[in-house]
Amino acid sequence: MGHFVPHTDAEIADMLAFLGLSSTEELFAVVPAALRLAGGLDMAPGLSEADVAAEMGRLAAANAVFPQLVCFAGGGVYDHDVPAATRSLTFRSEFVTAYTPYQPEVAQGVLQVIFEYQTMIARLAGLEVANASLYDGASALVEGVNLAVAASGRPSVWLSRGVNPSWRAVLATFAQGSGHQLVDVPLVDGCTAWPADGQAGAVVVQHPNYLGCLEDLAEARAVADRAGALLVVASDPVSTGLLHSPGVFGADVVVGEGQPFGTPMSFGGPLLGLFACRLAHVRRLPGRLVGQTRDVEGRLAYVTTLRTREQDIRREKASSNVCTNQTLIAVACAIQLSWLGTGGLRELALRCARGARYAREALLAVDGVEPLVPAPVLREFAVRTPLPAATVVERMADEGFLAGIPVPAEYGDGLLVAVTERRTRAEIDQFAAAFEKVVR
């Protein structure tokens, strides 16, 4: 029996009588008999709450997480602390159980938080407009490229290999429909080696890139100008506490993954796609946008705006099909960025960079471990290991560490290691000692 249907048998009988029916089966008379499912679903009966909790607990216990496994993996999802205030405020049921704010008069709470979120993301990007979020960094990249190709009228996309390979894979999947021509641009010594000439619609670079290296965004801007393209920058939003915002270098679109701000690693979802662009492109902005306005009595109010861009109105002419987004994760992000503030974000970025420097030096001191790339790094770095990286990860798990991510073959055999503000010196020292043991 369902636990969550409130009707008593007597109430059901009354309601059926009102409809002139004698059984619930008659409610489905419109479904042709040949299509009716005889015998119901092939599925066990429902469980009690306690039994469900026990089963979910069993499945959860079958995964190795902290403190059993100390995380040094990143690649777009990072092990940051989520403070109590962020957790508590994000999961207020007024935010969790609201729908898309179609009735702004009773959705001012979510709308105002999103307006504040948009403001903070625009500042991180150094651009004028940010949307109300997308699914993940990969979907933000896809939408950013769609915008750039539409605005430039050129289907060719110069895609740096420094962009997260999983995001590039998603872009390649959706290019099967959009018809974009993806041109793979290689890395040399960890940084993108752009083509000398040619035309493109979008020039796409990640900064810091997948291997952790800092890219030359001024050069990328010049390359985009020569190619007649828009510059799309995939930016690690944590790094902007310390580094120039991509907008400073003239990025047209900035995308990123917002998970580091207030969301646990969650086995990779839900994540948070960050998206910002120049005001000139606001008509092509994907997804929702909240704007400030007034109510009939002149009070400040917030509302989703420029809806004519969106799929529910423009239908096949819409620039994007995004409807559901990640609002709750954006709420967490806005709360976390407010908790951090100006000083906290800088300190967070600095602590990541310090931890990465310390861990990199500790690992490079291990016999046979070498840098995969020489370039400067921020919070993530790649090393070449004496054993295949996948073997290292496997053996390090026995020592209590998730050692990192074995990078795809296109980068050479290497291990990508990430360090956040959560990792202590003691953990890093133990990590390096275990590394020495398993690669010996």
Binding site: A73, E94, G177, Q292, T324, L378, E421, R425
Partner: protein, 505 residues
């Protein structure tokens, strides 16, 4: 004000009398902070020692500077200006907002689920792989399909995934088709997804009964049609009784049938898209199962397919080894990845716990109660509102305020705003597009007969006393919001200067 600082006030004004809640930027007070970080013992190199000077920011990044108390007060006051399912009924047709059991929140919060990094080897995440594999199997059982991907992070992402599956399958049949057929009542995501999938939309009209006009469909079918996107029950809440005939006609020209799972909650345990002849099905887990919508997301949009399409699914997928353990495997002709990792995993865990709690019998009850509530309310309101397709509906129905508009000047929008004053969330308005002054109502299965009765009485009161409707709502945190002004003078951030250049198209 001490030191001129605006932050730090603790007043309940926004709830107790319609005062504005300042933005967090206005509450900011230079030098105030909430953050603290753990003691790590890592050497404290300076920024200049770590990063080349050319990259270092020269101006601090301006974020709010507030105490934790300021922040908690601000966000809590904002939460009091927000309607939600936990607060009251949300009869938002086509969107399905129903109560989600709290046990699902607990499941998603388990450290063993939320604390897992997605790149961890399968051997270290066996619980996750088992959960995802069993969820996929159960979704196949519900839909009558062969295999499923859980990667799409939303229904619309599932649509686009489905269309790319369609494209890849036709390509392997040696056929390059250009058109996808969509009913005129379809969700806006359908035509938008068709375009992004590289196809052209061909619209098929609804007949007088509110279903696909089968004769008109036949006129549109040719060798260039890749497929048709349908939901059944359709967007008017009506079951497409001719679905077998439609399926045969589309298959006859080599097309595929795509099922938009927006309305799957109506048929749980009653009938299955696979039995109706569909080849591809997406599910909105936040509608049919249990994922709260979070003010707009996250949701999850798994896609299930028939056997011939299974090799094309996005991967990797969890598969069982002979020894009962799990590993990742990518289908042989996979279209590729559609999400950074494995989809909205915690949303999937919520849905899974909901399916376990309900079981096969409980899911059938969900459909029964949802359909019972919708029919009861339609029957009840037929004396007061126009019901353009007044025949047995499934989980939702469309009413119309057309007569009310012509006789008393009250539009669907006015009814919606008046309903807010009555303490209910409004239904979906002006959709589907083929109904004038549409009010699309979906009570869902979690609302009691008493709530149904109260909702019916509220709608009757609005129709009986139409005067002053244009001034509604009056009891909400703000009055009727000027949506046109927001578009005309675009203010998308707190930093923005209102720009008249952003005039509507």
């Amino acid at each position: 004000m001490i030191g001129g600082a605006p932050g730090g006030r603790a007043l309940s004004a926004p709830i107790m009398g319609r005062a504005d809640e300042p933005t967090v930027f206005e509450l900011s007070s230079p030098g105030r902070s909430a953050w603290s970080f753990r003691t790590t013992g890592v050497p404290e190199w300076t920024a200049e020692e770590l990063v080349p000077a050319a990259h270092l920011r020269t101006k601090p990044l301006a974020l709010p500077e507030v105490s934790e108390r300021d922040l908690v007060g601000h966000v809590t006051r904002l939460s009091a200006r927000q309607y939600s399912v936990d607060l009251g009924a949300y009869p938002l047709g086509s969107c399905t907002m129903k109560y989600n059991p709290k046990l699902c929140d607990d499941a998603a919060g388990l450290a063993g689920l939320a604390g897992a990094h997605p790149s961890a080897p399968a051997a270290l995440t066996q619980g996750w792989l088992e959960l995802l594999a069993d969820l996929a199997a159960r979704l196949c059982a519900v839909t009558g399909m062969h295999a499923a991907t859980l990667q799409p992070p939303a229904g619309a992402a599932g649509e686009l995934t489905g269309l790319l599956l369609m494209r890849a399958w036709h390509r392997d049949q040696g056929s390059r088709r250009t058109k996808v057929i969509i009913p005129d009542s379809a969700h806006g995501t359908n035509p938008a997804s068709v375009t992004l999938g590289g196809y052209r939309t061909v619209t098929v009209p609804s007949d007088t009964r509110g279903c696909v006009d089968v004769a008109a469909l036949r006129e549109r079918l040719d060798d260039d049609v890749a497929g048709i996107m349908l939901t059944n029950p359709n967007t008017l809440g009506l079951f497409e009784e001719d679905i077998a005939e439609i399926a045969a006609a589309v298959h006859d020209v080599g097309g595929l049938l795509y099922y938009d799972g927006a309305n799957l909650n109506a048929i749980l345990g009653v009938t299955r898209p696979g039995d109706m002849g569909f080849d591809i099905v997406h599910m909105n887990l936040h509608k049919t199962f249990a994922v709260p919508h979070g003010g707009g997301g996250p949701g999850a949009g798994p896609v299930a397919v028939s056997e011939r399409l299974a090799p094309y699914l996005p991967g990797p997928l969890p598969v069982a080894r002979d020894d009962g353990t799990w590993e990742w495997s990518t289908p042989s002709r996979s279209i590729g990845r559609v999400h950074s990792w494995h989809g909205n995993a915690l949303a999937l865990a919520r849905a899974y716990s909901y399916i376990l709690a309900n079981g096969g019998d409980g899911l059938r009850k969900v459909a029964e109660a949802a359909v019972l509530n919708a029919n009861w309310l339609r029957h009840r309101l037929r004396a007061t509102y126009d019901i353009p397709y007044d025949r047995p509906s499934m989980h939702e129905f469309v009413a119309s305020a057309a007569t009310l508009k012509h006789t008393a000047g009250v539009k669907a929008l006015d009814v919606a705003k008046r309903l807010l004053d009555e303490g209910f969330h409004a239904p979906t308005v002006y959709f589907p597009l083929i109904v004038e002054e549409a009010l699309m109502i979906e009570p869902t299965e979690t609302e009691s007969p008493q709530t149904m009765e109260a909702l019916a009485q509220a709608l009757e009161r609005i129709a009986a006393s139409p005067e002053g409707a244009a001034a509604a709502p009056r009891s909400t945190p703000v009055g009727r919001v000027d949506e046109a002004l927001a578009a005309r003078r675009l203010i998308p951030t707190w930093d923005a200067r209102p720009s008249e250049s952003a005039a509507p198209e």
